[in-house]
């Protein structure tokens, strides 16, 4: 269906283009006055009005057609179906949809529903296809009639192009709106069942059993792991950036920077695997060793097979390039004249860096760290795989712990209905996550922008 529609549309567009261009050519040949637009543009114009409305109709079918068919079908179902809830009804219709391709089951009611489904689907599809064909024909005829020597085909076509460009740019806005609205809507549903206060300040989280929705342990876990990650990434990333921008030779920069970028390019699921396979056992044996020391109590550390420390350390490594490349940029943006001033007074290189360059670059460095924190908070796979799943508040870094993101994954993996608190709580968590990272991002972007303006 998709390919066929695409081919037919493309063929129609090509024909329309050829007709339009032919008309333009004819005009150019016999009109003495100068043509306003090139014949090609007359072709594009006709093609545009032939294809775009028809394509819009087909797209509308692709997006809304099935939903429409289902809503009609649902309204026609016999009374007995009223007892089903929305999810069960959806599942029933899903089964009917799947059964369309299968032989009849022999259950009269179900077969009737399936048959009716097929009937409705065919009718709706036909209606949309007819509408598409009518629109194409109408667009073709009307646009063909407008072609004349002084017709501004080019301006019209360019108007169409610009409209398409604008729509593309608006998709970015639509995505933001979509994220905010969907998170808000589902969170609102959630907060009609669980009070906002309990969610934000409750200390017990047992969402899998639909009982306790106190998110503080998750906030704590997210905070703790981000803290560990930043403790690794901030010093290493910053020192690496300083060394690269102030000390390293261009040749060294040339190969160290790409190597650091490789760290950023490795998929997070790979880091997660590394964390659980290599780092977590190391952390565990280190913890057991400490427990076994003569002067420590034997139960000092939890020494779990999955631990906050393992996830945090690996996440820290992942974040190093975010810190280093952004800091490198801002340090490079500090004007050479500032450094020259310090050197001229007899400062050593490190004194210049510490007392002149870093203070000047401080806002940018802070922004880099903020973006890195935001990245750490939103990171999902490493914590899902290596931090464990237990929602607890524990200052012991070798205990297992869970985060906002890991909980979202565990709540929404598998079949999810949208009408229980368990599923909805994932969206409430997502909303918190979005708001927090949004704040960090906005502040950081703001600071970076200010900083750039200062030195540009």
């Amino acid at each position: 269906m998709g390919w066929l529609a695409f081919t037919v549309l493309a063929a129609a567009g090509l024909t329309a283009f050829l007709v339009g261009r032919g008309a333009g050519d004819a005009l150019a040949a016999d009109s003495s006055a100068r043509m306003n637009s090139q014949p090609n543009y007359h072709g594009y114009y006709v093609a545009m009005w032939t294809v775009v409305p028809a394509a819009a109709s087909i797209l509308a079918y692709a997006i809304f057609g099935e939903g429409f068919v289902r809503s009609v079908l649902a309204s026609e179902l016999p009374d007995g179906f009223d007892s089903l809830n929305a999810f069960e009804r959806t599942q029933y219709l899903d089964r009917a949809a799947a059964a369309l391709r299968l032989p009849t089951t022999g259950q009269p009611l179900f077969d009737a529903v399936v048959a009716r489904y097929g009937e409705l689907r065919g009718a709706v599809k036909l209606a949309f296809l007819l509408a598409a064909a009518a629109l194409a024909a109408l667009g073709f005829v009307l646009s063909r009639r407008r072609i004349a020597a002084d017709f501004r085909a080019r301006l019209n076509v360019e108007g169409g192009i610009q409209a398409a460009l604008f729509v593309s740019a608006a998709i970015a806005i639509a995505t933001t709106v979509g994220i905010v609205v969907s998170l808000l809507y589902e969170s609102f549903q959630f907060f009609t069942r669980v009070s906002l206060f309990d969610f934000l300040f409750g200390l017990e989280w047992n969402a899998q059993t639909n009982t306790d929705f106190g998110a503080v342990p998750l906030f704590f876990g997210t905070f703790a792991i981000s803290l560990i990650a930043m403790a690794v990434a901030a010093p290493i990333g910053l020192y690496a950036a300083i060394y690269l921008s102030e000390y390293a030779s261009p040749r060294m920069r040339g190969w160290v920077k790409p190597v650091l970028e490789v760290l950023a390019g490795i998929p997070t699921v790979v880091y997660g695997f590394f964390a659980i396979l290599v780092v977590a056992p190391l952390v565990r044996s280190a913890a057991l060793w400490i427990n076994g020391l003569p002067f420590t109590p034997p139960e000092l550390l939890a020494a779990q097979p999955a631990s906050a420390l393992a996830a945090g350390l690996v996440m820290g490594v992942m974040i190093i390039p975010f810190v280093s490349s952004l800091s490198d940029d801002v340090i490079n943006a500090v004007p050479q004249t500032l450094r020259d001033g310090a050197y001229a007074m007899g400062a050593t290189k490190s004194e210049t860096v510490k007392q002149v360059v870093l203070p000047a670059a401080l806002p940018g460095v802070i922004a880099a760290l903020l973006l890195a924190v935001s990245r750490a908070i939103g990171e999902t796979m490493i914590v899902t795989m290596a931090a464990g799943q237990r929602a607890q508040i524990s200052v012991d870094p070798t205990s297992d712990i869970t985060t906002i993101t890991a909980q979202i994954v565990s709540l929404l993996t598998g079949d999810s209905e949208f009408d229980n608190s368990k599923t909805l709580s994932a969206f409430a968590l997502g909303f918190v996550l979005f708001l927090v990272t949004l704040c960090f991002n906005l502040i950081a972007l703001r600071v970076v922008q200010r900083y750039r303006e200062k030195y540009d």
Binding site: G67, V262, G378, D415, A426, L433, L438, L445
Partner: protein, 531 residues
């Protein structure tokens, strides 16, 4: 000079000490920088190194040769030898495999638990390739053919040395063999020195006597495998695990191999008997280590030895096709609008901020968006590459837009002026000149964005792409999984064999990503234009 320094208070012991301190601080600072870079690179090497060493065993696989008598009644029980029936007839082919195993090792044909122990040398589904071969060439039916079938994952790991530490030594031949001293054990008499070496390699909790929970000592001669129970001078009392002792000469004539398997039988997934059968098959020449073709040609499976990444690769391909065909054109068009046409208004400021922010939104939020909007609101199918591609396209869009805008910005305005000067319209100036000149930069950014999307896992988990998919999808609306999600799933697998398999899947994913990034770097190197 020194005169000047002295008069300026820059000389003297105090000043020199201060200078020394300052230079020491300088050296320290420099060292911290070097250490930081060294640490980062070391992490990278450690990461890649440990994954590669993990993955290496998974690229090969032990296979067992079976001589299957392709009886028509078993292979095509319905009477008609239609290829699709043969292909589905796993039960029939597995029966042939079991019969062949029992024929070779009659001692495994005892009670039900004996049979389970023996049959688990090969997984039921491992006969699928055989079924496919026969379905392709039905003329084989009625003949006896040799097929190589994957050895069960645990035994495969044992042979690769990944299950347990094992000491192996070779000793001289047995001097005498005495069968059945009151029970079904045998007593071997070996040379004094050989007995000493066996004793030294039997770290049992009680001297010279094997107890349950102790490391196993296996004694192999040809295809006879014995398990040492007691040591008494030059005499070794042992239990026959497999092999025919009716012809004791065979045992006496070949040298002994003694293996100490450090992990006790109770702590591993393979029994002593299974190891013995495997060793016997190996000494028959019926086990070979071969390239693991299942890894790249099979779909996912619940058995690691026959699981492969093929279906996930196809799923990734469909997903990336959708992502690329949406994110790249829309991203470029949005960038062209913002960079070339948009008036500087509040609206464009809002678009600007929201794009920059979208680029930093955690990927999992896109998964939530996909679950709420595409699945719940629009009712699109779960687990479909189409939806996954949509979600990843939204995620990649800001990256493409930012890269494309930067590339467009780098094209000097004089080029646009020149085009306008000869009477090109603004649209023509952009599409004929600015955009083609920015294309390499745009493509570089787009490929890097797509490579990131290829490795993305979290948002796809939320739209159900984690479903078990045993067949490659044939279109973007079929159920599918993608490579990174498969890696996540395999990494949570309980069996030990999933670890190398996961690492191998990671290597395959990384190869694709390296390839994409290499293309991006090449594009940048080849076409980058400095103005």
């Amino acid at each position: 000079m020194t005169e000047f320094a002295r008069s300026a208070g820059l000389a003297g012991p105090d000043a020199e000490a201060r200078l020394r301190r300052r230079y020491a601080a300088e050296r320290r600072f420099r060292f911290y920088g070097q250490a930081a870079i060294g640490a980062a690179i070391l992490f990278l090497v450690f990461l890649i190194g440990s994954i590669v060493t993990q993955a290496l065993p998974a690229f090969t696989q032990h296979k067992v040769a079976f001589d299957l008598q392709l009886d028509r009644a078993v292979v095509a029980p319905s009477g008609r030898a239609a290829p699709e029936d043969i292909r589905e007839n796993v039960a029939g082919f597995y029966r042939l495999v079991r019969e062949d195993l029992v024929e070779r090792f009659p001692e495994g044909a005892g009670d039900a638990s004996d049979r389970v122990e023996l049959y688990s040398l090969a997984t039921r589904l491992a006969v699928l390739p055989v079924a496919h071969d026969v379905a392709r060439d039905p003329s084989m039916i009625g003949q006896t053919r040799r097929f190589w079938i994957a050895l069960s994952d645990d035994l495969d790991l044992y042979l690769k040395g990944l299950v347990t530490r094992e000491n192996v030594m070779t000793l001289g031949p047995v001097i005498t063999v005495e069968v059945g001293r009151g029970d079904d054990s045998v007593v071997l008499t070996v040379a004094e020195a050989a007995a000493e070496r066996i004793r030294a390699n039997a770290p049992w909790s009680e001297p010279d006597r094997f107890l349950d929970g102790d490391p196993t000592v296996l004694i192999q001669a040809g295809d006879v495998v014995l398990k040492a129970l007691e040591l008494d001078g030059p005499e070794v009392k042992a239990e026959v695990l497999t092999g025919d002792l009716a012809a004791p000469n065979a045992l006496a004539s070949s040298p002994l191999t003694v293996r100490t398997i450090q992990t006790p039988e109770t702590d591993r997934n393979v029994t002593d008997r299974q190891i013995a059968w495997t060793l016997a098959l190996k000494s028959d020449g019926r086990i070979e280590r071969r390239l693991n073709t299942a890894l790249t040609s099979n779909a996912d499976s619940t058995y690691p030895e026959i699981a492969g990444v093929f279906a996930a690769l196809v799923g990734s391909l469909f997903t990336m096709l959708i992502t690329a065909s949406l994110a790249v054109p829309i991203g470029i068009m949005a960038a062209v609008y913002l960079e070339e046409f948009a008036p500087k208004t509040r609206m464009t400021d809002v678009i600007e901020v929201s794009i920059n922010n979208l680029a930093a939104v955690p990927s999992i939020v896109y998964g939530l968006l996909g679950a709420a909007v595409f699945l719940n609101f629009f009712g699109l199918p779960r687990s479909a590459p189409f939806v996954g591609g949509l979600v990843l396209a939204l995620m990649t869009l800001p990256t493409v837009i930012i890269a494309a805008r930067a590339a467009l910005k780098a094209v000097p305005p004089s080029i646009r002026d020149a085009a306008l000067g000869v009477g090109a319209s603004k649209t023509q100036a952009v599409f004929h000149h600015a955009l083609p000149l920015a294309a390499p930069g745009i493509m570089t950014g787009a490929i890097i964005g797509l490579a990131r999307a290829l490795g993305e896992t979290a948002p796809l988990l939320l739209i159900g792409m984690v479903a078990f998919v045993a067949e490659a999808p044939s279109g973007p609306t079929d159920e599918a999984t993608v490579l990174p999600v498969l890696i996540y799933k395999w990494s949570t697998g309980a069996e030990r064999a999933w670890e190398p398999a996961t690492a191998a899947a990671i290597i395959i994913l990384l190869i694709f990503m390296v390839f994409m990034n290499a293309v991006a770097v090449l594009l940048r190197r080849r076409f980058e234009r400095r103005w």
